[in-house]
């Protein structure tokens, strides 16, 4: 546990893991999308509109997975004060928001031909929109806290608490279709079972793995940027202190 919290060790692993994740993810996602759009069959009822599922489901999973990661990282940071956990949470927020927005957009595009409407205020759609606003709130809170505190690149306490409280929405999103009557269909893929024919399921799983790798690569790249910023700032601070102290400048 503590071994993973070491920024130097993280940087050593991330140096080769970041491009690996991005390239492999890009290859898998492209493969799955080409397969899904050109070669997978059309659905009996939905026809060709079913093909948007290869983008919609991975983005939905990553939008929710992103906030789960923020919540776990926030918990780790509050309890064990691991600076890397806070950095990870901050790095996840932006890609999480982008993937949630993509999920809402693709869902809306599918909803028009399939349901006959771009948008309804049912449980699933509304709770997913709330997740997008939570991401915006998280980023705004993080930016505000960043302006007021000088040292350290982790989350502020209040941002971490917000990350934890926001996690309440994740089970609400997941169970919204079973708790309440909703226009959105219940999950096709549950533990070990699939109501989806293999012709759709296989490219969908490949797309999900591919987009997850891309997501992970983006998060690692952003974490490296935050850590590099921290190092640069620390160096500047040292320089400024030396310049202020008379006599110390000559020795340097």
């Amino acid at each position: 546990m503590h071994g993973f919290a070491n920024p130097a060790r993280f940087l050593r692993i991330a140096r080769w893991a970041t491009p690996l994740c991005l390239l492999l993810g890009l290859a898998l996602a492209t493969w799955a999308l080409v397969w899904g759009v050109f070669f997978a069959p059309a659905d009996t009822l939905q026809g060709d509109t079913v093909r948007i599922v290869y983008l919609h489901v991975p983005t939905a999973w990553l939008g929710m997975g992103g906030w789960s990661a923020i919540a776990i990282a926030s918990f780790t940071e509050i309890v064990w004060r691991h600076p890397l956990a806070g950095i990870a949470a901050r790095a996840v927020a932006l890609p999480g928001a982008v993937f949630t927005a993509l999920c809402l957009i693709t869902g809306s595009i599918w909803g028009r031909p399939a349901w006959g409407t771009w948008w309804v205020w049912d449980g699933r759609l509304t709770s997913m929109l709330v997740l997008l606003f939570l991401y915006f709130g998280y980023m705004a809170l993080d930016a505000a806290a960043r302006g007021s505190q000088q040292a350290g690149q982790g989350q502020s306490r209040i941002t971490a608490i917000f990350g934890l409280v926001g996690a309440v929405n994740i089970p609400v999103i997941h169970y919204s279709v079973t708790w309440w009557n909703s226009l959105h269909q219940p999950p096709s893929i549950t533990m070990g079972k699939s109501a989806m024919a293999a012709d759709f399921l296989v490219p969908l799983l490949i797309a999900t793995v591919g987009f997850s790798l891309i997501f992970g690569g983006i998060v690692m790249a952003r974490m490296r940027t935050i850590l590099a910023d921290e190092q640069a700032e620390a160096r500047l601070r040292r320089k400024a202190m030396r310049a202020q102290a008379p006599g110390a400048g000559e020795a340097w």
């Binding site: 069959p41 059309a42 031909p113 399939a114 006959g116 449980g123 934890l164 309440v168 609400v172 009557n181």
Partner: protein, 148 residues
């Protein structure tokens, strides 16, 4: 000392999380009936809404119940959930996925005669995804069995 502080934070945060999850569950429990997007026919038959209140009715379009009126735009069908059946009348453009045996959400008002008058129809897709070719094969197989 540091270990104790860590332990204290862990316990405090654990209690806070339990309280938070409890509050979330209570809130969703309270929302249970209000947050539903539509009535199912059994609900509507048991507690009919006032006839001037706009509500949504969701269920399956009963097979063989869809009848097109002579004016070419009006359709009559029965929405069922296996427990109750509600007749629905709708005049307008129907979504592409609106077919017999499939899910539908009708927005409108329950008339005094017990017919639900819809001013908008939404098709509800279920969680099943079946390729077109496979469906054809199933139908072909069924057709072959029937002729035997």
């Amino acid at each position: 000392m540091a270990v104790r502080a860590k332990h204290q934070r862990l316990v405090l945060l654990g209690i806070a999380l339990v309280a938070l999850i409890g509050a979330g569950l209570l809130a969703t429990w309270a929302l249970r009936s209000q947050a539903s997007y539509f009535y199912v026919p059994a609900d509507m038959a048991a507690n009919p809404p006032e006839s001037d209140r706009a509500v949504r009715l969701g269920g399956m379009v009963e097979r063989g119940s869809m009848k097109n009126a002579a004016d070419g735009v009006t359709v009559n069908f029965i929405v069922s959930d296996g427990k109750a059946r509600i007749p629905v009348r709708f005049a307008g453009i129907r979504p592409a996925l609106f077919v017999e045996g499939s899910g539908v959400v009708a927005e409108g008002k329950l008339g005094r005669d017990g017919t639900f008058v819809a001013d908008n129809l939404l098709a509800k897709h279920d969680e099943k995804y079946v390729p077109r070719e496979m469906k054809d094969m199933q139908q072909a197989r069924k057709a072959i069995e029937n002729t035997k």
